[in-house]
Amino acid sequence: MRYAIAIGLLAALLAPLIAHSDSVLAIAIYAFMAASLAVSFNLIFGFTGQLSMFHAASFGVSAYIVTILVTTFGWNFWLAIAPALAVVLILSLIVGTICFRFKLKEFYFAVVTMAFSEVLRLIILNWNGMTNGSLGITVVDRPSLWTPIGNVAISGGVAWYYLTLALLVVVYVVCHGVLSSWIGRCLAAIRLNDQLGETLGIDVFKYKLLSFAIGSVLAGLVGAFYGFYSGFVEPHYLSIPLGLDIIAMVLLGGVGSLIGPVIGAFVLTALPHVIELSAELRIALYGSILVFVILVMPKGIVGLIGSKRNAA
């Protein structure tokens, strides 16, 4: 597995040398960002067992804050990321504290986080003066990177390709670090049997909150970049369908694995471009994939590869 990931990363680093086409690069960029969202979501869902519907909200809130700070208040892009992540952190701590103090589990946790996420979407939708309501905000600025030869604007497919690849690597490494530490074992204990974990001295509330906060902040990090590539932010960024897309990617790729959501994100991002589909059909396809995966391959693509290897 380790080698497969190393080869995949090497291939990703070299790919722009071969694939110059803007549309291929664009698919890869969106897939990297979707994969970052899916990997961070899987920390909360697949590894801690909490079905958060707040992920899209963390992503969207951060996207809005960075965009508004840069376009309305003229902040530097990189500086604007810090307050955006701080707000996401505080929001996730508030929502997490409420849910986990009341010991909301599974379906109840999903519904309550969904409600909080809708509240945030409605605030953004109706705060016309700041967010431009349902029309969203068009982003024309491009973040620039300081180099010895002066500030270079990050524009064009190749630059964004490497930037979002780096983003995915950062999210992946953070999640890997957390999961391979003692925290990862606490999260496994919570997912598999939180009552037993608690009697072994694990502060279930604290570690649930920690996982939820780390995952949400990472989603916020993705959100910070997203609007500047797509060129606009809109209330749809905080919507439930976006949250469901992330779940579909994780389920398709493999719930209990780190690399699974990356695979799932690539398949589901590339698929609509490979097969031309209308938006309605695309949602129907997502739904069918979800049903198929849950029924036939509960451990996703990664699980399928793993079981083939074990059988051989």
């Binding site: 598999l192 608690e198 072994l200 001295g201 694990i202």
Partner: protein, 256 residues
């Protein structure tokens, strides 16, 4: 006194599960709590372990009131409870169970230094200590040859022993065992008996509940008999077992 329980009472709606129970536990002894089904044994243990909050009364651990402290904090204080029906982490192996149970050891050893181990990995020295400790405890609980097996594949008796082993890895001063012998065969009970005697030589205080009188009779220094949530007899195990009220509670008036 290590643990001092005073006038412990627990009501569930109209039902009084534990009524005005008082007893103490001294360091190094093995205390037995027995009584027929529904006499409030498990409720008492759950109250001590913080899983339930008492309606009334107090639980004092080394001079500190812990009656409203959550279970994970009770475990940090050094009181660990095992479950009557073995609780496992599905999918994980025996060794992985033990590794999770090392949580408190890691916490005590590293403190806030744990945050650094996120970047540099766990100190090799600590890793070695944990591995040795896990091996030693699995050896003691007769699970050493099963360490890489999935815990769900263990026999019922094996699962119960794993519960004891996990509890011991938490380094408790007082281990609360909820019916460790129930559902075990004769050989497994003899094995459990030997394991618990071994534990005592390791300096652990044990509080064991069971409705199998024979098993506790051999092991416990002192016993408390419960019936309908109240203490009906307390003292040396042999005396408690010979107590008329206890025999009556178990067998009915005719046999007393």
């Amino acid at each position: 006194m290590l643990l001092d329980i005073r006038n412990l009472t627990k009501r569930f709606g109209g039902l009084t599960a534990v009524s005005n129970v008082s007893f103490g536990i001294e360091r190094g002894e093995i205390i037995g709590i027995f009584g027929p089904n529904g006499s409030g044994k498990t409720t008492t243990l759950s109250l001590i372990a913080g899983i339930l909050v008492p309606t009334d009364g107090s639980i004092v651990w080394k001079g500190k009131d812990i009656s409203a402290v959550p279970p994970f904090e009770v475990a940090q204080h050094g009181l660990v409870k095992t479950f009557q029906n073995p609780q496992l982490f599905p999918e994980l192996t025996v060794a992985q169970h033990m590794r999770i149970a090392c949580h408190l050891h890691i916490k005590r050893a590293l403190g806030f230094g744990r945050v650094w181990s996120l970047f540099g990995g766990m100190p090799a020295e600590l890793n070695g200590t944990l591995t040795r400790k896990i091996d030693q405890m699995l050896e003691l609980c007769r699970l050493a040859d099963k360490r890489n097996e999935e815990a769900g594949a263990l026999s019922y008796g094996g699962e119960k022993m794993l519960g004891v082993a996990m509890g011991m890895v938490c380094e408790p001063e007082l281990l609360l065992l909820d019916e460790p012998a129930s559902g075990l065969g004769h050989d497994e009970i003899m094995n459990l008996d030997a394991v618990l005697r071994d534990l005592r030589t390791h300096g652990v205080t044990l509080c064991i509940i069971d409705h199998k009188v024979g098993f506790l009779g051999r092991l416990a220094d002192r016993s408390i008999a419960l019936h309908h949530g109240a203490v009906i007899a307390t003292g040396k195990t042999a005396d408690v077992l010979a107590n008329e009220a206890v025999i009556e509670a178990y067998l009915g008036k005719k046999h007393a």
